[in-house]
């Protein structure tokens, strides 16, 4: 039973990353109509940013949790201003191709300097050790990742669904021209939205640094799984992305316990099943 709970926890942690990343993808797709293939590379940049802050500037985990998403978010906003904005009005596929190119560049540069092996990032002192919950041993850092991701996801959901800013954002998604007529700066809003989505990816990167080590290709395979998550959940609903992300993480964790051979593939198999039964995805509207 211990092993089962441990795998469930690993599943919840992976689910946190799926949720944070698919949430960012959904937010970006809503505003920019672009599937951000660079999301995995930006997640990796978040982790590297934390690593540099610690090893170059001596800045620890807690400030990195805020600084890294901001730095990578600004990098994302520069990408949006200099490249992505020129794709408005073109077929969606060009956005996918452009961001794929950006991902190749970013990952290639990091691979040149850091190879493919992992760099260690220590767990902060406050979160070291673990608790005995009676039925299992819970490493505190892992518990923290799950709880904190959940809080961030719900905060993002609240920002978009319940605040005035979010209302403007959703309105601009539906009809940008009309929203501009009301005097709202839609291009700036698009840039900030991309920054927000990218910041969420970088945050996930910082959170994963102490667990998964910091590697140039850490986001490359992950983003494909997240795409499958997005296909399953659909990108129409923020809450849908969050729930699907966590649920698939847990299912993957269970598979690791009951049938480890399939743990790499279970998300893709589920995607196939969902497509056969309900082609629009669980929460999505028709594409």
């Amino acid at each position: 039973m211990q092993a089962l709970y441990a795998q469930l926890l690993v599943g919840l942690i992976n689910g946190s990353f799926y949720a944070l990343l698919s949430l960012g993808l959904a937010v970006i797709f809503g505003m920019l109509n672009i599937i951000n293939f660079a999301h995995g590379a930006l997640y990796m940049m978040g982790a590297f940013c934390a690593y540099f802050l610690l090893n170059v500037a001596g800045i620890g985990y807690w400030p990195a949790l805020i600084i890294a998403p901001i730095v990578v978010g600004i990098f994302g906003m520069i990408l949006e201003r200099t490249m992505l904005q020129w794709l408005a009005g073109l077929d969606h596929l060009y956005g996918l191709l452009l961001t794929f190119g950006i991902a190749l560049i970013v990952q290639g540069v990091f691979q040149n300097y850091f190879g493919s092996s992992g760099l260690p990032y220590a767990i902060p002192d406050e979160l070291k050790g673990g608790m005995n919950l009676g039925f299992m041993f819970l490493p505190i850092y892992r518990g923290w990742v799950v709880v904190f991701s959940l809080v961030v996801c719900i905060a993002t959901w609240y920002l978009i669904e319940k605040t005035r800013l979010g209302a403007n954002l959703r309105a601009a998604t539906e009809n940008p021209t009309l929203v501009r007529a009301f005097g709202i700066n839609v291009p700036r809003m698009i840039t900030l939205t991309y920054g927000l989505g990218v910041g969420l990816a970088a945050l996930a990167g910082v959170l994963s640094a102490p667990i998964n080590q910091v590697r140039p290709l850490m986001g490359a395979d992950l983003i494909i799984v997240v795409f499958a998550v997005v296909v399953i959940g659909g990108m129409g609903s923020i809450m849908g992305s969050i729930i699907t992300g966590f649920a698939l993480g847990v299912i993957e964790g269970l598979t690791k316990y009951f049938y480890p051979e399939a743990s790499n593939t279970v998300v893709f198999v589920l995607m196939v099943l969902v497509l056969l039964v309900k082609p629009t995805g669980l929460t999505g509207r028709a594409a």
Partner: protein
């Protein structure tokens, strides 16, 4: 949504004449390669990828479907052909047939699943399916995991053509490429191809005209996957191995890049693109991961400033379709 290509003109007799002239020139030039002393291995490899990119282009350029998983057909056909040749010891023609049939079967299944969604979702689904296959091939014993299947015997095609002779092999690969190319060309200019273009331009309208668009898309997908598989089987004889790199998503990305560089939706673009990218990899092989970076830069540059690709720009300049 703007169309991917600006070739909305119906196929005119003049366009067909132009394309026939270019095709003849291409066939003659490629036929002369062994006489020039150019390293035939390089050209053979490029021809396999050119056919692969043409198959991919059939889907994106004429059906508007961007497959981000076409490496799965290359790799699957490669593994099956390699296994048949090495372990079962079949003749080359049967080895190719086995690979092509395998790729066709795979494209029926994956096509049925992936055409259930359109646009960007279609791309993500094909990518996810090819990643699924990658993990399966990583774990099943017959692919030999990270090592791949190596030292594949080339044998005699139809019992006559000795494929261990580089010149003979070159002409066999060239014949395969030209045959596949003509099949794709014929498809594009058939009534079936016209319906595909109609679906690309405006699917709801094609449906309202009574076309069962899903069947057309599925058939295009199967055709594309099967020809991609044929390219994969040919490549086994050239490289004499089948490995995981052929199923990896980076390979799918390279196929997209070749077609984009040459020109999406142009007849000859994918061929030019394949030669450009393979040549680049050859010359920059010593630069390690910088090749990836350069590929990324080409992607970005093409999308931002050069969306028609090499052939698309030339055709646009002369106001022709090529």
């Amino acid at each position: 949504m703007s169309a991917l290509t600006d070739d909305t003109l119906p196929t005119s007799p003049r366009a067909i004449r132009d394309e026939m002239i270019v095709f003849a020139a291409m066939a003659v030039l490629l036929g002369m390669v062994p006489a020039t002393g150019i390293y035939p291995f390089f050209v053979m490899q490029a021809l396999c990828f050119a056919l692969l990119a043409c198959a991919f282009n059939l889907l994106i350029g004429y059906g508007g479907l961007l497959s981000f998983g076409h490496a799965m057909f290359l790799g699957t056909a490669g593994y099956i052909s390699a296994h048949a040749l090495k372990v079962w010891g079949v003749t080359p023609e049967l080895g190719i047939l086995a690979g092509v049939v395998g790729a066709a079967a795979l494209s029926v299944v994956t096509g049925f699943i992936s055409i259930r969604r359109q646009g960007i979702y279609f791309s993500m689904i094909t990518l996810a399916l090819s990643q699924l296959l990658y993990f399966i091939y990583l774990q099943t014993p017959f692919t030999h995991g990270e090592d791949g299947i190596q030292g594949i015997p080339q044998g005699h095609l139809f019992g006559v053509f000795n494929l261990t002779n580089p010149t003979v092999l070159y002409y066999v690969v060239l014949a395969g490429f030209l045959g596949g190319f003509l099949l794709i060309y014929r498809t594009i200019n058939s009534p079936f191809g016209e319906v595909l273009k109609a679906i690309r331009e405006n699917e709801p309208r094609a449906i309202s005209l009574g076309y069962k668009t899903d069947q057309y898309k599925l058939l295009a997908f199967i055709l594309s996957g099967t020809i991609a598989g044929f390219a994969g089987s040919l490549k086994v004889f050239v490289a004499q191995n089948a490995s995981l790199t052929d199923v990896h998503w980076t390979m799918s990305g390279e196929i997209v890049l070749m077609t984009l560089v040459g020109g999406l939706g142009t007849v000859f673009g994918p061929v030019v693109g394949a030669f450009v990218i393979i040549a680049m990899q050859q010359y920059l092989a010593g630069f390690g991961q910088w090749v990836t970076v350069i590929q990324g830069v080409i992607f970005v540059a093409c999308v931002l400033t050069f969306r028609r690709g090499v052939i698309g720009e030339i055709a646009h300049y002369f106001r022709r379709t090529l």
